[in-house]
């Protein structure tokens, strides 16, 4: 078990290293374009070369990569071209904002998804199952930007209940969080529900459920003690992996509602070719994703006695 954890974390570090190489190759291998991105397109070749020279860009790529990675590890992400401040100064507060948005959305989506998934899976093919399955397909078919538009025109313009932007200009306002969270939950609950349903439905057909029923256990106990314990192992992983999807959804939602989060930051950075900011955002996003995947794996092993004790 310990070995497994060590190995899993080793893989995680290795993954991060490869990701960093990938990011580096994609964004920094062409020094000319780096200079253009940093100094702007209206600079002369001499200016650019001077800048490149001064910042060590004519060193061999490997050396540059190692230096770049070293700076990354100690938390020095360089300076944002657009905001004219160190990247970390803008990045961390934005990440915290996204953490609030994503955390609430994930919590609600999991709660709804798991509950409805279990209910649907208890009796496969029944009316409840049909209802949950169809609505899950329905809501996951609506892209985030579309549901944002639907909700906006209904709650903001038609009913006038909620604010249409979530910039939080006058301090934190819970009402401004409602629509972004709704959009994320609408898109994400369905996937969790369908996975939970599938897992639950599969468990319900197993022989050990038959054993439990024929032992004379009350139906509630069969579901709670026997079915759910096994059925919820798989969705656990799904929920953890959902964080990866959430990070994508967050970008759209933050752009759509003007929420000052990490996703919007990455988006702005890419529009402005703010290269160091893109790199930092990408690395942080992948780090979060890889971290949750690792936790998902470790958690799965822990939840599953068949793996835990072998």
């Amino acid at each position: 078990m310990l070995i497994f954890m060590f190995r899993r974390f080793g893989t995680m570090v290795l993954t991060m290293v490869v990701v960093s190489i990938l990011v580096f190759l994609l964004l920094e291998i062409n020094v000319e374009s780096v200079a253009i991105k940093v100094l702007g397109p209206y600079t002369s070749v001499e200016q650019r070369n001077l800048w490149l020279e001064r910042n060590g860009y004519f060193d061999p790529a490997i050396l540059r990569y190692l230096r770049w990675l070293g700076n990354f590890v100690i938390g020095d992400f360089g300076s944002s071209v657009r905001f004219k401040v160190p990247v970390s100064d803008v990045l961390w507060p934005r990440l915290a904002n996204t953490g609030i948005l994503g955390g609430i959305a994930l919590f609600l989506a999991s709660l709804i998804g798991l509950t409805l998934g279990v209910i649907a899976g208890m009796r496969e093919g029944g009316p409840r199952d049909r209802g949950v399955s169809v609505s899950a397909i329905l809501t996951t078919s609506v892209p985030e930007f579309a549901s944002a538009t639907f909700l906006l025109s209904f709650f903001v313009f038609h009913l006038g209940w909620l604010p249409g932007t979530s910039g939080m200009a006058d301090g934190f306002d819970l009402r401004q969080l409602v629509l972004p969270v709704m959009v994320l939950v609408i898109y994400d609950w369905g996937y969790i529900a369908r996975m939970t349903r599938a897992s639950m439905a599969e468990v319900m057909t197993t022989h050990y459920i038959r054993t439990a029923v024929l032992k004379g256990l009350p139906y509630g106990q069969v579901i709670r003690r026997h079915a759910m314990r096994n059925a919820l192992i798989a969705p656990f992983t799904v929920i953890m992996l959902q964080i990866n999807w959430l990070l994508s959804g967050v970008i759209v939602v933050e752009v759509a509602f003007g929420y000052k989060g990490f996703g919007a930051l990455l988006y702005e950075a890419s529009l402005n070719q703010d290269i160091y900011l893109i790199e930092a955002c990408a690395m942080v996003a992948v780090f979060v994703a890889v971290m949750t995947q690792t936790l998902a794996d470790v958690g799965y092993t822990y939840l599953n006695p068949r793996i835990r004790f072998s």
């Binding site: 310990l2 022989h207 256990l217 192992i233």
Partner: protein, 703 residues
Amino acid sequence: MGSQDHSYDGPILECRDLCISYFTRAGEIPAVIDFNMTLNQGGSIGLVGESGCGKSTVAMAIMRYLGGNGAIVRGQVLYKGRDMASLSEEELRQLRGNEIAMVYQEPMAALNPSMTLGRQLMEVPLCHEKISEAEARKRAMQILADVNLPDPERVMAAYPHQISGGQQQRVVIAMALLSNPSLLLLDEPTTALDVTVEAGIIELIGQIAKKFSTSMVYISHNLGLILETCDRVNVMYSGVVVESGTVTEVFDQMRHPYTKGLFGCIPLPGADKSARPLVPIRGQLPLPHQRPPGCYFAPRCDFFKQGLCDLEDLHMTSVPNQPGHDVRCRRWQEIDWSTYKPVGVGVGEVQAGEVVLSLNKMKKYYEITDNSIAAMIRGKRVRYVKANESISLEARASETVAIVGESGCGKSTFAKVLMGLETATDGEVMFNGKDISQEQVQKRSADQVGSMQMIFQNPFDTLNPSHSVGSQLARVIRKFGVETDGDKIEQRVMELLDLVKLPRDFARRRPRQLSGGQKQRVGIARAFAGNPSTVVADEPVSALDVSVQAAVTGLLMDIQKTYRTTLIFISHDLSLVRYLADRVVVMYLGRIVEQGTTDEVFAPPYHPYTEALLSAVPIADTSVERTRIILEGNLPSVTNPPSGCVFNTRCQRKIGAICETEVPPIFEPSEGHRIACHLSREEMLAMKPVISLAATPESPAAE
């Protein structure tokens, strides 16, 4: 304790004209028709039949657990005189697990993988009786001891996957007995287990019947097990009971042609194969929606009479002077069994030719990396699994060599090395005068590959569902360069289908449209497509129904005889091996423990393992007597085999420390008959036969 109603002394269970159907998209499919059964207190009834005969459906109907699409359409199930259909959900719940308990076919699947066994056991008394956790725990520990599980404490804390299959089944039985039920339903409780483990479970079931005076319904496809566990038997065929009576009546004086046929299909290890040949039943089981009118067995029956057997309204009739012995046949009184001499399969001596295949000290080790910390500290991370250790044997042309052993004995590895899917670690494998032990199949010539082919175990897996039967056979023919021209290939495909007695238009069919037996025939055709000199058959009939098994076995032997093929027959079924093998090799944990001609191996002196294996085989013949040897303990892991003689941990004849320290020498009572055992010559020669016929074998049916 279980709420046994002492005021009631009628039958425990009665089924009256029970009809059960499943409702699918295709419509109503009758699974059980007109089923009657009366089980008295303390009695035991066996339900026997092949797959799809409805025997498990009956058990589920008794529990009133037929799933969403099954229903009792007519008739009643009466438990202690009460109609099960009239019970409320709550009353039903109180009955299940408390008064009626069940033991299932696959113990691993029947136990919840993420709950400790102790929890799962304690649940039963906790939900049926008002007792404390501590009391429930005590009861669970007690019952685990009752089913002869060593170390109940450890079992209680374990998860299902941490104990062996045999132990799992004991836990399931313990769970069923916890509330001291009046009725125990056993649905193929040993089918998923190895023979020697099965013997232990059967013995336990026998003890339970005595100790707890529980009434039992025992469901099995194996007549031998019914003989050992039950006093009455219902023989089922395609949803109906065709014959019922006491075990002795049905086993010794069977009246229905199907019962007769079924017994003819079962190989008996004690019998002389020429005196009692294997007689296949032709054709195959009808699908539920394709049952013929009248008698469902009619199309396969040798006594079919038009205008009589195909009339509807066929009912059970009683055999005179044998109250309770009923037969569902219109002609049973007319049939004269003494003149009925069906043609048996595969008897007749063959002259073995020159040596085709010879293995000399072949070894196959697999490397496994041990990642535990302890192993890392000791620096011994790589261990070897000795899947095959020093295998030496010979096979001659037109000879059948059987490799016998239980799961994990290395049979499959052996086949893989022969076929070139794995290379041997050491030793040689001489095939047609060439060492192929190091040649992967891709490196072998088309001719070499074609001359050694394989027949597989699982009929549902042996053919590629995406391609037609014809194209799969054609591919083999082309691959081995037997024919290259399109028309000739097609011609050859037809010949192969003729060879395995399948209609030619099967070439166009998809595997999905074939029955298990038919698929297995195609598998045989495929193996013989390249005119092989040697065919390796890996349990080719073990997944088939008994009545189909005999026919496929017969076919295989006929073809083998015609082409003088060497057949390496891998099997766990000693009875079948007795019929078709010329020589037998018994394996245990990757080692050969005994080999010799069939007659030598099946008669003393035995290797103790062979002896135990023989004694464990259930035999469906009342005239056979056998010594019972129940092996103790579990099959050791191949990754960590016992030292010395690998069988020493379970051996019933273990003589002492020498068995644990030294590899046993080879004892050769006659030339070619080799036994690897420490027993002295005298002890060996003093062994008694395990299986013997009773003094006066009577066969009234033949009179």
